[in-house]
Symmetry: D2
Subunit: 177 residues, 4 copies
């Protein structure tokens, strides 16, 4: 069955975006890429520092409120609709709720053919890359590295602490039908 | 009837993005914002300089190919699905095809309640702002300023050559139900 | 006497950057552009939220500490040295200290030929443009609009609330020898 | 003797910027960071695609002209002047001219205490990271990986293909007096 959606899940600074760009370069057909970062960018600026929206604490912990969840649910429906309409879609997300986050996607995805990819990066390495990026609140990477994978099931996993983005992308691309 | 989607159409450097950010700040409810720029960012980099994707000539003229059109159609379906799922959505687009571009949106939007907004900016002013931005190919603004409005019908029009972004946003917000 | 340095002073969101890019496009010779934003970007990330570095309060007020002042003084020396070495240089700055800020530049500039430009933008207009930019703490524009000009003397002033960036740049360019 | 300037030399996508940000985070004193990317950003947009300025060919090869060289010489003088004025300065550069590029810096640096660092990354790895970045012309990394080190002498070298940015930064920081 032809793969219609690729979903990458991993913590902040685990290397998802680099893999996505390599996947778009390597895969012969054009794939659209969306992710939690572009979703947050689509929200009003005032929601990026509010109880009802999304807040990033000084220690890097992220909390989201009711408005965020409601808009996110509609955004997920929209991304899935793009795939149903024929676009090949890559999504990178951070499953802050672990298995519950995956179930939200699964429910929306219905019968679509999905490749689930876990993007692993050990906490200390991700925390170091967070320093190197320079544009993230310190602590996000460490706080998310493990919890986002709890209870989540994958078709394959890649580990960016031990393989380059391009190599990870090629491993994933080999599983795309 | 409650407004579900706001669509802003205007040429490059006509000031759409600034109005969108002001609308998100002014409107009491949270609105998601998407646009042709974020759509192009979601495409593979290799499509940004290809016949089948999108090409920007040295004189600023933009041409799009078959792959672009196919992915755009799916993207439009997805944006509309977000609105159907309950998200309030602002879209900023550049109707390179004028009335034909509007008809593509209208067909996808079905019975949703839409506010159509024309963002005008006289060609010479937009061309000057293109220089001030510094990140656009010179000529895009002038080549698009008029053609994107040909045959398009609006609920209201704003003119950024004669009003600030925030004032334009307030004019639009007053028409949102 | 040939103009060697152009210094633009104005509050946040008064439109300095757009004028600088237009000046670089309009002036026949190549001019390098530096400013307080690129200076802040050159500092360690940890100085951007520290007593000794630079802090932006929730109401947009900016305060700078001893480390910031020491590095800034060295940065000013360096910018002036580029001009002495033959580069034409445009600087955009925010004179938080008004006349005292200008005196610091004057002392470093020595006998160089400088064109001093005040970039005015009435507080309410700048505050609206701050909303339209979407990436600034609300309140910076209003808190800086007037104080940065107190006691400062100029060769000419431009007003971005009543003229486009390109027009302001042409007014300035006409005064460059 | 107290280290006053740290100069990192390496090809495009070799990982210089990440090391710089880690150095700024790790070093106890505040260090300013400048580099060839910020220098190019300070030039007029029109010089970024001109014979006299800087051109990037479709295969990623970079060529620079007379205006670029003249402005670069003045910029180097300015960076050195910042260090003389007391700022600790980190520079990341791409020695397109190999030993000749180093000699230009050495001549300007005079008696300052400099730590010379080579940032190595094997060509294939850098080319892969160029794909992952998505914002560079493909081919720059491969065309620069080796030539920028020809004839250049270093106090130490780091290899980002085999060590994380933070680890490289710590190796360098241990050599800063």
């Amino acid at each position: 069955m032809t793969t219609q959606v690729i979903i990458l899940n991993g913590g902040s600074s685990s290397g998802k975006s680099g893999i996505v760009r390599c996947l778009q370069a390597e895969l012969p057909n054009p794939w659209l890429a969306f992710g939690v970062d572009s979703f947050v960018d689509s929200m009003p600026a005032k929601m990026r520092a509010s109880d009802a929206g999304i807040e990033i604490a000084a220690d890097g912990r992220v909390s989201v409120g009711a408005d965020f969840r409601a808009l996110e649910a509609a955004w997920v429906e929209g991304i899935v609709a793009m795939a149903r309409a024929g676009a090949r879609v890559i999504v990178d997300d951070v499953f802050l709720g672990g298995a519950a986050s995956q179930q939200r996607w699964q429910k929306a995805l219905g019968g679509l053919s999905v490749l689930w990819v876990g993007v692993r990066c050990e906490s200390a390495v991700a925390a170091g890359r967070e320093v190197a990026r320079g544009d993230r609140v310190q602590g996000m990477a460490a706080s998310q590295a493990d919890v986002v994978h709890q209870g989540v099931t994958y078709d394959l996993e890649v580990d960016t602490a031990h393989a380059e983005s391009l190599a990870c992308a090629r491993t994933i691309a080999a599983r795309v039908n």
